[in-house]
């Protein structure tokens, strides 16, 4: 298929449709709304289910119910709306059901603003809901990736009976780029054994996240944790840019990764040996790759559109091998390449400080 100029939110919506989305449940919220609006026309036109729920709380529980049937289901929202989904997400995870959630992050906390942000990294990656569970989290950095990862998310969700979150910031939802859409997949016709579909002749099933006996809950927890080990072994995704001979490693995801790429290019143009590692799966996190990077570079710079969240995961995996610095813009501010270039130059020219934490040092540099 030829490339088309597509807006992020619309691209994700149509990609989901082509991946066989059978039911969508959502609630309007900027900067995600175009996704819901697009599907409000597209889904009925295809005879598929679209419901504008009473709230995100309603939406996630409609997703929960629809997921019980084994169909491909999705919801989408943005930061405050996603916070309202936390109980439902924990239930869906505890029931081991496949579902896809698109989170187009905006500035927070609270009502905050509608500008692009990555400040929900911890909420999504480190469990915003209660209990031990993991979500697969995919972070696109451009529209083509947004399309490809949306399609992938449905496959991964079913393969591992897991929630998959497509995590992006508002600017990716709003921007346009040429991209290619996948061909239309037919809707599923065969469904997993566990699905509750009220089929004639099927043995009766029930689906719940309740395990009243703690030892049974422990067995379920361990089963999920071992499945997660499998996911961690098979599904890590990332992209590297001019890291081969790099002495400085920059790590950033999504839009921050894009901006960092511009800075890395300019730095290279000035002869600074720097490269970029852009995690695509934020969970499972590319720990091995960070570890390898830490073994060959002299220092690492973590760039985020928040106050330093992925930073902690990088620190855990660098495990003291090399000094780590942080640069972030919280509250909905998108950094310009020159800001990151400045940081790279600092690392290239000045001794890397070691006292205090990277976050403390960053705060001392901020106005």
């Amino acid at each position: 298929m030829a490339k088309q100029l597509l807006k992020g939110n619309v691209a994700i919506a149509e990609a989901a449709v082509r991946a066989g989305l059978q039911a969508y449940f959502g609630y309007p919220i900027t900067p995600q709304t175009e996704l819901l609006e697009y599907l409000s026309a597209r889904m009925p036109e295809l005879g598929r289910a679209f419901v504008q729920a009473e709230s995100e709380l309603g939406a996630i529980n409609m997703v929960y119910g629809a997921a019980c049937t084994g169909a491909r289901v999705m919801s989408s929202s943005s930061s405050p709306g996603v916070s309202l989904m936390m109980e439902g997400i924990s239930y869906i995870a505890g029931t081991e059901l496949p579902a896809v959630i698109v989170d187009v992050m905006r500035g927070g906390p609270g009502l905050g603003n509608i500008a692009p942000s990555q400040a929900d990294y911890n909420q999504i990656i480190h469990g915003g809901g209660h209990g031990d569970y993991e979500l697969i989290v995919l972070a696109p950095a451009n529209i083509q990736e947004a399309i490809d990862l949306t399609v992938l998310s449905f496959d991964l969700a079913e393969k591992y009976r897991s929630i998959v979150v497509v995590l992006l910031d508002g600017s990716l939802g709003q921007m346009m780029e040429p991209a290619e859409l996948p061909p239309m997949k037919p809707l599923k016709t065969s469904f997993p054994e566990w699905a509750t579909r009220g089929e004639e002749g099927d043995p009766r099933h029930f689906l719940s996240s309740i395990y009243l006996d703690p030892s049974e809950e422990e067995v379920a927890n361990l089963r999920m944790m071992r499945r997660w080990q499998e996911i961690k072994a098979n599904e890590v995704r990332y992209k590297e840019y001019s890291l081969s001979d790099a002495k400085i490693g920059v790590i950033g995801f999504g839009s921050a990764g894009r901006v960092a790429l511009s800075a890395v290019r300019s730095a290279r143009a000035e002869g600074i040996p720097v490269g970029l590692l852009r995690p695509i799966t934020l969970n499972p996190f590319p720990s091995k790759q960070v570890e390898e990077l830490a073994k060959k570079v002299d220092s690492i710079l973590v760039v985020e559109m928040n106050g330093g969240q992925m930073l902690d995961d990088v620190l855990r995996d660098v495990n003291g091998r090399v000094p780590v610095e942080f640069y972030g813009r919280p509250g909905g501010v998108v950094p310009f390449p020159d800001e990151i270039l400045g940081e790279i130059k600092r690392l290239a020219t000045q001794p890397i400080p070691t006292e205090g934490t990277p976050r403390d040092r960053w705060l001392s540099r901020m106005p």
Binding site: I114, S171, M175, M176, V259, V334, F336, P337
Partner: protein, 176 residues
Amino acid sequence: MQNEIIFAGFGGQGVLFAGQLMTYAAMDEGKEVTWIPSYGPEMRGGTANCTVVIADEEIGSPLVRNPKAAIVMNLPSMDKYEPLVQPGGVLVVNSSLIPRDAVRKDITVVRIPANEIAEELGEKRMANMVLLGGLLAHLPVLPVKAIEKALGEHLPAKRQKMLPANIEAMKRGAGY
């Protein structure tokens, strides 16, 4: 090679559409391209702007602090973006609504009475095309033909009859 152009003005002046036209054209020319709007507060009105980046390799940041060029359709936009254009860059000014002259001497400043020209051609809303024509004359990142093709494909059906007028508008703008 990478060029960045910012389109800025009041909502309703067609800055977003002008930017999109350029984006479509760049895509058809097989270039890498990004278009990103400023999406304002969850409410109506106010000023609008968008940034278009056209390049030969994968594009990093879709936003830049110092664009190669800027089209400013009202005074607030002039005040905001004149200082930001790269040295040697291009600033296209809608002189119909912007009384003051530019202060920068290290950039090419093109002043065009876009509203008047557009009204002459019988459609106020074509001021954006006039300015786009002016831009392409001084920053030939894309062949005018490519824009015309994009126009043909993306001008809303009910305004297709205005196609020739729009092309004329670009020509007039290119004259400045």
